[in-house]
């Protein structure tokens, strides 16, 4: 488990992280969402032991990370622009990482690269941006660490490749309980992979929730009522948002699905339909409650 306690970090007069508290459970995919400059990379770099926090601490399985080899052996960090030695190829990079990570699985790495159709002997300088990202993921997964820290890793990957990587993560999570922590500015990118999402804005976490909880507790209902329907009757529901077009109402409601159905049916609608919410819509609704305009934050 990863725990951040009162974490703060400033760069000269810029406050990158401001008193952040967060916990990341093992076996989940944690998504860290935020705009550029929100502090995602800083958070990940502190988590990776690259940066030292000004105040507070970050613990991996109760171990402090900075300059602690025991903690550092538990993760592999993939930066948004990973460094590879000049004039080197994948094979050489694998050798390098094998010398550093004690559980590095060379065969697994070569297998993944084969699946990803990456030539192990080709100079990395000649790789495209997406290919470099794939190589990073292959090496990161093969390091067999408990946590995989990915900074904007899915950025630049085509949809097919993204699915492949997601399946790879899923397999690793099943096989050995890998916990990927993925930072991204693109919410849609994380929608179908994250179990838990934290929203960073201006150095602080605005929101941190399980995606399933959010999905189970927020519902969108499209319904049509009689002409003389008294809208006040809807107040019995925990409505987050309500929109209407003529007699057609689209209502976002917090609560259990069956309870919502029961309530709606009790209002004798002409028609109603429970609709699924995208993660984006859930975020919009949740952050609006907190007074933020999410569209301005991450879209």
């Amino acid at each position: 488990m990863i725990e951040a306690k009162n974490l703060s970090k400033s760069f000269e007069d810029i406050k990158a992280l401001d008193n952040i508290n967060a916990s990341i459970r093992d076996g989940n995919v944690f998504g860290l969402i935020g705009t550029n400059g929100a502090g995602k990379s800083t958070f990940l770099k502190i988590l990776a032991g690259i940066l030292k926090p000004d105040t507070g601490e970050i613990l991996i399985d109760d171990e402090k990370v900075f300059e602690n080899i025991l903690a550092k052996e538990k993760f592999f960090y993939i930066s948004d622009d990973q460094f590879f030695f000049s004039n080197t190829n994948a094979k050489e990079m694998i050798k390098f990482y094998r010398s550093v990570y004690r559980n590095f699985d060379v065969k697994k790495c070569e297998g993944i690269l084969k699946v990803l159709d990456l030539d192990i002997n080709r100079k990395i300088n000649n790789f495209s941006k997406g290919m470099k990202k794939q190589l990073c993921i292959a090496i990161g997964v093969s390091a067999n660490t408990k946590y995989l820290l990915c900074d904007e890793t899915f950025d630049g990957l085509d949809p097919v490749m993204r699915q492949t990587i997601k399946s790879l993560f899923a397999k690793e999570m099943d096989d050995r309980g890998l916990t990927p922590i993925i930072a991204s500015h693109n919410l849609r990118e994380l929608e179908d992979i994250c179990d838990h999402v934290g929203l960073l804005h201006k150095g602080g976490i605005i929101l941190s929730k399980d995606v399933s909880d959010m999905k189970l507790n927020i519902h969108k209902v499209q319904c049509v009522f009689e002409k003389d329907f008294d809208m006040e009757r809807l107040k019995a529901l925990d409505i987050m948002q309500i929109k209407n077009s003529g007699r057609v109402y689209t209502v976002t409601i917090k609560g259990n699905e069956s309870e919502i159905r029961e309530c709606i049916e009790a209002l004798n609608p002409v028609f109603y339909e429970m609709m699924g919410l995208s993660l984006e819509e859930i975020f919009i609704s949740e952050t609006e409650v907190h007074g933020y305009d999410i569209k301005k934050l991450i879209f």
């Binding site: 032991g49 690259i50 030292k52 030695f85």
Partner: protein
Amino acid sequence: MTSKNLFFKLMKEDFKIRIWSLAISILSFFFSLIVATAMLISYHRNMTYSYLIEETGEIVDDSYKLVERFNFYMNIKSPLFAFVFLCLSLIVAISGFTYLYSKKKVDMYHSLPVKREVLFAVKVINGILIVIVPFIICTIIASLMIAVNTSDGSVIIRSIGVALGWCVFFILNYSVVMLAIMLTGNMLIGILAFVFFSFYFPLTAFMLMGFQSTFFETYYYAGDILEKILPNTSSFVLMFNLVEIDTVKRIIISAVVSILLMILNLFLYKKRASETAGKSISFSIIKLPIKFMIVIFMSMLMYLMAYEMMMSSTIWGIFGAVIGGIITHCIMEIIYNQDFKKIFSKKIEMLICIVLALFFIASFQMDLFGYDRYVPKASDIKQAAVVSNFLESNTDQYHSNPKFSNGFYGNVNYTEDDYAETRLLKNLNIENKDIAVKIAKQCVDSINNSSEREGTLGYVIISYTLKSGRVVQRKYNYFEFESAISELSAIYDDPVYKKSMYPILSEKSENILSIDFDGVGYDDKHIETKDTKLTKKLLEAYKKELSALKYETRLKSYPFASIRFNDAIMEKELNSDFVSDYAAVSEKKTDTAYVKERDDKGYYPVFPEFKETIAVLKEMGVDVIEKLPAKDVDRIEITYYNPENGAGNYGSYTESYDSYVAQKTFTDTADIEKILDSLVVCDSAYQESLNEDDNITAFIYMKDDKENAYGGYTSYRFKKGNVPDIVK
């Protein structure tokens, strides 16, 4: 995985990354050692062949010359190797540590489960091995090549010894480049930081010495900090041996400093925040002091340059200081912020720098801290030395250090400059410190009273070693000699002073192999001391009479000859294949001829009062002529210098081309006799100038048939108060 395994695996991986620097290192030493040695051997063979055919026609074993050439080439002071190691230290430090300048690289390295100490050690050790291993291998190969060609195996041991010395210098310079990298966040600024570490402190020392010599009248020695310590606080200076320092001392200092710097580098490496990659300076705390150091230095330097260029103009100096300070501050701000738009930021700091620089300048120019007026309390002095031509003007006769140097026309055997003064100031210890203080106070008074400056010739150097250990030395060029005669007598008559001044007083007769007597005319004697009893007698007599010689006697009397007691070193030099001048060396066209510059050193005075010495000399068969025979003199021309009154005072004498000079010629034998009675005639290496009357000079012209015996003519002077009436 054990940490030991990890360390070696990382070393292996690091080698792969830095393979290019290894290639440069191997190439550098291949050419500078193996190829150069092959060229040296080839050159030696060609030269030997020509020499044998033209000069002797015989086969002579001169392989020692090849060894000498190789040893000279592979020298611990060789600028070529200093340059090679300087370049390589930059290359390996850059190849190892410039990842600290890239955020991308830092993110990768610092996220690895590797302790920073381990990463540091891997980078440092690999850097050292990349240079040292090829160097040692090439050195062994090169020295084996020489050994095979000369059958001299000792060259291998010597070369390895020299190579180890160079390794120490390399590690020192490598540590300094690393320090520059640790403190900075980008390559250009890193290189500037290395330039700063290489030159700032030596240049500051030279600049401050420049200020002292320009503005302090009594400047002689700037103190150990400025003269010895600061100039050597640079790996560049130590590597190139720019401020000469003993080699062993140089290596020990370099080794100790390297270790300290490595520890400091490790500390900084661990403390260095990853986010400083790409910034100008990685530790903000050093920004301000470094800026102040550089801006104040440049401001002061510009002042000195403008002041000197514009003929001691203070206005131009201030202009230089202000402009220099502003420009340097602007450049520093651009560098710090990496933004030209920040050129005029932090104006208050700029103002403070310039004001401080002007204050320091004023402290020199106006002598705010009383440098020229400084005289310590007698009770604070541990050791005091007074060296002056009012006490003894022939110090370099008694204290000379033979030095050999390889010149263009041949090798030169010369006496080191300032050796005598330096030695005396260090070793002389006047027992009565009050006298030294009293003389110093009189000298200071002479400075303050400018009207007394004219006509007071000579110098007084006073050195104090204070009880605190501080060494203070001052040189006074204006001194009222007449009013300090009693103090000068007290110093000269002190046996401690004499023992330090005259090494002959500590000499033993069994060390004396020959004696040189240099008297009037050309009839000098070189006496091989086969009769040891007579030698002992002469030496003892001389020591006794020299020890008893009073200052008062020297004011009136004058040595008519000089004597040299030659020990084994001097005898060897006299018998060496020396030639008299550079032209002779170039004619010989060999590299074994030495110019004899020490031929006229080591002579001691023989005063007419040294009756016992003169008697022993006569006993040894020396024709001692105490006075130039008047009958052999053709004429004496007296020249009068009277800057105050011109030639008018001398009435009827012929005016010369210079209105301040008048001349009179004496040809009458009786007049010549009278003049010679009073005249100081000493035609030898030893020259006495104490208490001479500077206004009158006599030129003695020998008769034509006696010229060969006595030489042409020479100028002589009278002692003050001893000018004969016919000359007055």
